[in-house]
Amino acid sequence: MRGKGAELQVKLRIQRFDPAVGDRRLVPYDVEVPEWATLLDVLDIVKDTVDGSLSFRKSCRMMICGSCGMRMDGRAILACRERMKPIVNAGHVPTISPMGNMPIIKDLVVDMGPFWQKIRQMKPWLDPGLAESPEKENLHSQAAMEPIQKEALCVMCGCCVSECNSMESDPEFLGPAALAKGFRLVGDPRDAKGIERLEGYSGEHGIWDCTRCYFCNERCPKGVDPRDAIAKLGAEAIGQGIDRDPGARHANWFVHSAKTTGWLRETELVPKTQGLVETIKQTKFALSLARRGKVPTPFPPHVAKDVNESRSLYDIVKKQGRSGAAGIVQGEKALRKLEH
């Protein structure tokens, strides 16, 4: 293969880590590769011609097995998806390191154990809730599968998890990949355990732990948009009345504010989200904010002009019945026009 066609001189730095020695080093490499090489091709050539001990994961080489997740200049990517030519042409020397939010085993290989553990917590199989197998196959329309088509694209590479801000702060957070899987199951017409699943995903480290940093949407190489999947789970949970979590109560208070005064009723948000006991415990903090005018008085309420319009819109929306995930899915037709 090499020697034929145009060649490219690639310089890069790879973070090496040997568990036996324990220190992390950035090692520079400089190799000649075919013009069409991806980062994965470059790593193969480094391993074949420079240092056979370089460790990384790979399998399909075509963006479908999800094995080759790693970081380039701090961004989680699939190595087999990144072409080197534009990077070399820009005169850039990229730094390659392992994904974040997962322990490093060696070089670019991370321990995906906790990742798979969370996928398992989602009970990632369809449960049609039937006592016995039906005689005939049970056909579903293409349209019925539409709501989960994005989530079904996930290749479980972990790129979304790598930079998840909530998981960095709470390692037990189920995280974007597992929760996207969760919606893939909740939204599947062949599954009968939606309510149980939504209850299960609404725990302390579940849906409402997400801080909406949107790193997962930004990083996902398959266009799954895990943050949107989490919003769909939240919408389904609230639609089913599974809304005891402070996060769900927080979300509901915004809806209530918009239809009553138009603007967020900010001062009441705290007791509505956290409950009375917690609010009283926070009195000292609240007073320190009040001294700076940061606790606006709820009386008289700050009411938008023509607020009756937003009130009536709420009633119409409820009547038209696009509640739950359907309200988000309807916007995806347009979003598909955005290049990923």
Binding site: G74, N165, S166, E168, S169, D170, D209, T211, R212, C213, Y214, F215, N217, R227, A231, G234, A235, I238, G247, A248, H250, A251, F254, V255, A258, G262, W263, L264, E266, L269, T273, Q274, F285, L289, R292, K294, P296, A304, K305, D306, E309, S310, S312, L313, Y314, I316, V317, Q320, R322, S323, A325, A326, G327, I328, Q330, G331, K333, L335, L338, E339
Partner: protein, 302 residues
């Protein structure tokens, strides 16, 4: 520019959002004071509501679309082609809804019918949602900014903090490179400050979950404050009132939790430019901040 060529101020619809109407009022006040100096005439939208933050999008997504369509419709009815925001979360919510309405005729006509039923104007898709930051960090706005910021920041070290929803998802926002943004740095530079670089400037401040998951949120909040402090920042600046509130007001909780002192003053974008432009105290309202801005102001006076 020659006087006879001056086209007069640019009239834009102004959406201030919830927090800048309430607990972070100082951001609205400083934006209004600054706008004419930057050649902007702000058309106030009196009938609009909350954009729903991420919350209504999650709890009642169809209602989120209607509320945002209504905001865009009132901006259009004001005869404006630009809707200016001063909040990251408003920016993403409005831009996402706007993109969906512009690119799905079926969705737009159903929502317009509903708007009509309640007596609101329809939205035909002629408005562009722009954050204040983008309007002053590039092109003509940037030239105006350089003129206005004559008083300068006297080389103060400023840590730019972008937060999330002005950078990601970049396919809906798209002005800055989400991993190497430059607009805040450009503004700091034009104001005569020195921008500090640090990794957490593009990360989350924790605000969306600060009430529901305080510990998780504080674990996020500490990173930018700590890094800015370690790199010797005199103050931080953010384009978002939510980030402003968590960085400024929740800092005391970090201090309590860690037993450390941060005392990191936090400015909103309009206040940073306002200081450089020599706005009066009454227009900057630093007295409403929890962390004192006095050390910063003293350095500029000195």
């Amino acid at each position: 520019m020659l006087a006879d060529q001056d086209p007069g101020p640019r009239r834009v619809a102004y959406y201030k959002g919830c927090l800048a109407s309430l607990s972070t009022k100082e951001l609205d006040i400083s934006t209004r004071a600054l706008a004419p100096k930057l050649g902007l005439e702000l058309a106030e939208l009196e009938s609009v509501t909350c954009c729903g933050a991420g919350d209504i999008h999650e709890a009642e997504p169809d209602y989120y679309l209607h509320l945002n369509a209504r905001i865009l419709a009132y901006a259009q009815a004001e005869g404006c082609d630009t809707l200016m925001t001063i909040c990251n979360v408003c920016t993403l919510n409005l831009r996402q809804a706007d993109f969906q309405l512009k690119n799905d005729e079926h969705l737009r006509s159903r929502i317009n019918e509903n708007l009509e039923t309640v007596g609101a104007p329809p939205y035909s898709g002629s408005v562009d949602v722009q954050h204040f930051l983008w309007m002053i960090a590039e092109g003509e706005g940037y030239e105006k900014l350089k003129e206005v910021a004559h008083r300068g920041l006297k080389g103060l070290k400023i840590a730019p903090f972008y937060g999330c929803q002005i950078l990601r998802p970049s396919k809906l926002l798209g002005v800055d490179d989400p991993d190497a943004p430059h607009t805040l740095e450009a503004v700091i530079d034009a104001c005569g400050g020195k921008a500090i670089d640090y990794p957490a400037k593009v990360k989350c401040c924790g605000f969306p979950i600060i009430q529901a998951r305080e510990d998780v949120a504080l674990g996020e909040l500490i990173q930018p404050i700590e890094q800015a402090m370690e790199r010797g920042a005199d103050a931080m600046v953010t384009p978002c009132p939510l980030c402003h509130l968590s960085l400024d007001a929740w800092q005391q909780k970090l201090e309590k939790q860690t037993g450390r002192t941060f005392d990191m003053p936090i400015m909103h974008l309009s206040q940073l430019v306002g200081v450089a432009a020599g706005l009066a105290d009454s227009e900057l309202k630093f007295k409403r901040h929890v962390v004192s801005m006095q050390p910063v102001l003293d350095k500029i006076e000195a």
